[in-house]
């Protein structure tokens, strides 16, 4: 299978990339990890006139935590960089748990965190982890940089708030105000499959009290499901059987699953409820052990 013809550009700076996108007038596309875009080019679901390959722009492969505890993930930080990170589990456990569940190990060598969020697949794992924690995408265009809140970034399936002449240069995810706790659970039929259903939970703990609770779902709706309001019933409480049951029921209620080859809607909703409960119960156990 072959992509249709395109002009190929390999800029070595962000400014140059933006100029090329701008000149392309909507017919140019950014290529980062290529693990969604190249398959689409080969299937001719996409046939841009120009490909702007950003892989030659230096110093975009970082992930680091700043003085305020915010995690910055550069546009060329690959899934595998996060999977092998030695610091991520301590500061952002939800992301660390998701890292090894995104696609398969070979795809993880190339695919990028930012590219995945830009792809805006309703089944994308990274967007769910970000919605659960909040944060923003830094977009750079001809008029400079702007921050786009993650909840306003993904507009629908495969549609984002980026303008045609903007590059997403980094993702910024806040750190916990208290002790960071969280996890990501995903049901997949086999390795490398997209989620049948998955759940991201992220908590800021103050001792054994939940200060902030965040949650988002993938695979159970036409977009990443924002379940932050649903799980907020945990805030100010400790993790008990009652509060956990209440939260898992509330989250399951906001899923919008549809019956397909991966399972029925009722089954997927049940998975969501089970996963929320499992994550919270495990976290409660860790808290007890720590106490």
């Amino acid at each position: 299978m072959y992509p249709s013809r395109f002009a190929y550009e390999a800029p070595t700076s962000i400014d140059e990339a933006i100029a090329l996108l701008d000149a392309g007038g909507g017919e140019a596309k950014v290529l980062s990890g290529g693990q969604s875009l190249i398959p689409m080019l080969k299937l001719r679901f996409a046939s841009p006139a120009t490909i702007v390959d950003i892989n030659n722009i230096p110093d975009l492969d970082y992930h680091r935590v700043d003085a305020e505890g915010n995690l910055h993930i550069g546009a060329l930080c690959r899934h595998v960089d996060l999977e092998q990170s030695t610091t991520l589990a301590d500061t952002h456990p939800t992301l660390a748990a998701a890292a090894e569940l995104v696609a398969d190990p070979i795809v993880r060598s190339r695919g990028t965190f930012v590219g995945s969020v830009c792809h805006a697949d309703p089944q994308g794992d990274w967007a769910a982890t970000m919605v659960a924690q909040g944060g923003y995408i830094v977009a750079q265009g001809p008029n400079g940089r702007r921050k786009i809140d993650i909840r306003e970034f993904v507009l629908g399936p495969f549609v984002t708030a980026l303008a045609y002449n903007e590059v997403a240069v980094e993702a910024v995810i806040p750190g916990a105000k208290g002790t960071p706790r969280g996890s990501y659970l995903k049901l997949e039929r086999r390795v490398g499959d997209f989620a049948t259903a998955s759940v991201a939970v992220s908590l800021d703990m103050d001792g054994d009290v939940v200060r902030r609770a965040g949650c988002a779902l993938a695979g159970v709706g036409g977009r990443t499901i924002d379940a932050n309001d649903a799980i907020s019933c945990l805030e100010g409480k400790t993790l008990t059987e009652d509060s956990i049951d209440q939260a898992s029921d509330a989250v399951a209620a906001v899923a919008e699953p549809r019956t397909d080859h991966r399972g029925s809607d009722a089954y997927k909703r049940h998975i969501v409820q089970t996963f929320v409960k499992r994550i919270l119960t495990n976290l409660a156990r860790t808290e007890q052990k720590a106490a």
Binding site: Y2, I51, D53, A103, R110
Partner: protein
């Protein structure tokens, strides 16, 4: 029959090509390519390195795996132009003139292959794993190979082959130390 490679690579008026230099198995290769040429086809047809197999052509099976700057990638899902200035290792680069790579030896010793279609990809992914983690558990091996599909072996012997290679490489390291 003209291959896809010929179709893409036949000089056509008005279709620009790019000159790229790729280090393939330690050797600098300079070629002119149309931007949409896939890395897998550059290797197989352009450079006649047919050890890299194409299975699914849809980024699912891992048969086309090569090492790109040391990391396993699916060569059916990279453009050849993207390899400009980078290092690519294919199965042809694994053995030295006189000796098989320990991973190759392991696949031989432990019967890690049947039809051999998945084998180049399996071995390259394994090589990358052992360079990063010389002492993997069985779980580590299964996890690392989970993107490489095999339709024949049932994986048991593949896992044994990699563990065999790990042991051999550790022993060799010990001798060197």
């Amino acid at each position: 029959m003209t291959s896809l490679y010929d179709e893409v690579q036949t000089p056509t008026e008005g279709v620009p090509t790019r000159r790229i230099t790729v280090v393939v198995n330690g050797e600098k290769r300079t070629v002119d390519v149309e931007p949409r040429l896939l890395l897998a086809h550059l290797l197989r047809q352009g450079l006649q390195l047919t050890g890299t197999h194409i299975g699914c052509d849809t980024t699912s099976c891992g048969a086309c795996t090569v090492l790109f700057d040391g990391r396993p990638v699916k060569s059916c899902t990279m453009l050849a132009v993207q390899a400009d200035g980078h290092e690519v290792e294919t199965v042809e680069g694994m053995a030295s003139a006189s000796e098989l790579h320990p991973v190759q030896e392991g696949f031989k010793q432990e019967h890690g292959l049947q039809c051999g279609y998945c084998t180049p990809g399996m071995m390259l992914t394994s090589k990358a794993l052992l360079e990063r983690n010389p002492n993997p558990t069985e779980d580590d091996v299964r996890w690392a190979l989970s993107g490489n599909l095999c339709r024949c072996t049932g994986y048991q012997n593949i896992v044994k082959s990699v563990l065999w290679a790990a042991e051999k490489m550790r022993a060799e390291q010990g001798e060197d130390a």
